[in-house]
Symmetry: C2
DNA sequence: TTTAGTTTTTAGTCTTATCTAAAAATATTT
DNA sequence: AAATATTTTTAGATAAGACTAAAAACTAAA
């Protein structure tokens, strides 16, 4: 049995350390889940005890095979629920994350897999993030950060790395949505801002915004 | 904020005490939620502190108006989720209760109300239990226990009072389902068993079973 | 109306998941 | 290679929710 809190730690380690394959620092985890380093140390020990994590004092933590699978299944549930909320319950993409944070902890294999079927086995969630299958696998991501696109080139907005409501509402306000074609017009070295052009407008986005936009070419 | 544990106590008091209007004993609650009387006393105090319950030492507990509403909303969620699982995710009526026990604690008003709409505003769950509306109200129940039906009379199976998988699987095995027309043939005073007849068969049911079957005439 | 039995409450302990403050280990600078 | 700074771990505390055992309050029987 994996507790709700343990699941959240597994997710954090998975996300911070390339699916838990690269050692993650205590502080990084604490920052991610908004807790303290001492709490993280305690929990990591517990995860190691349960064979979900590999832990060597002072050297960070990675996930074991079963830890990685457990994390992927939580993420699978999170993303499937997000799709459900948008596709079936009229939520917009900026409203789903917090509810999915709760729903991802519901325990029932049948529930997840039937939900998957109901939704037509989606491969991506409303933010463009890939949905792991039953074995925790998903197709490699081919989208690239917009800051790496050379001025003059264009692509389709495929993924946003920040799922917070503030960020997504910024995009709503500025008429930017997944699937939009975006052309990079200019890069400004002074503040790393970007001038982009969509079907409806030309605009400048800050580097904080640009960091979170991923395009497929 | 009402915690998951508090919600479970509210539900228990609501069910045991005519929607929390009749005083419920510490022991009865302990029995219902499979805990100990001392734990119940502690929690009752907390509920009273939060103005969800009325508590006088040694005299049991009732719910306040806001306690009653909170309880009804948890029950509303529980039953809506049960309908969802059966109608949309191919669960059978004996598989839904345990998952609904988890889902009933998800916090999102929009989620509940959109779910309600998706399901077409159902009035009853898969076990025939009424679904409270947003204000916690539901139509009065008109079904009657089968033990009160005089031999020779018949009615439609409208509600089962036990939602456990063991009981529901017993009904499955014996081809009894909500909506079936049941005729009472005979009552046996020796053990309070009942002979009943459905479209497909004639059978004897024990009083333990009969106690849980409610019919509308 | 005492006495005996039952129910409820209190007192004290435990577990899980947190936290703060201090100690220990590792990293980075001079 | 010291000295300093940063990170991580340990030690000790706290809050929620549960438990056992014992005390207190009610209820029923004699
Ligand atoms: Mn999310
Ligand atoms: Mn997402
Ligand atoms: Mn149920
Ligand atoms: Mn039910």
């Amino acid at each position: 049995m994996v507790t709700l809190s343990e699941e959240n730690y597994l997710k954090a380690i998975y996300h911070l350390g390339k699916q838990g394959r690269v050692a993650v620092s205590t502080n990084a985890i604490a920052e991610k889940i908004d807790s303290k380093a001492s709490s993280v140390t305690d929990m990591i020990k517990k995860l190691a005890e349960k064979n979900l994590a590999n832990y060597i004092k002072y050297q960070g933590v990675t996930l074991t095979e079963s830890g990685r699978l457990a994390a992927a299944l939580v993420i699978r549930k999170h993303r499937l629920w997000e799709v459900f909320l948008v596709e079936k319950l009229n939520f917009s993409w900026d409203e789903v994350h917090d509810v999915a944070e709760q729903l991802e902890h519901i325990k029932s294999l049948k529930l997840v897999n039937e939900l998957d079927a109901l939704l037509g086995f989606p491969t991506h969630d409303p933010h463009g993030d890939p949905i792991p299958d039953k074995d925790g696998n998903y197709a490699p991501i081919k989208s690239v950060n917009i800051l790496e696109v050379k001025p003059g080139n264009e692509g389709v907005l495929a993924q946003v790395k920040d799922s917070s409501d503030v960020f997504l509402r910024y995009l709503n306000k500025n008429n930017l949505a997944l699937g939009d074609t975006i052309k990079v017009i200019d890069f400004e070295p002074f503040d790393n801002s970007l001038t982009i052009e969509t079907a409806s407008q030309k605009m400048i986005i800050s580097s904080e915004v640009a960091k979170n936009l991923y395009i497929s070419l």
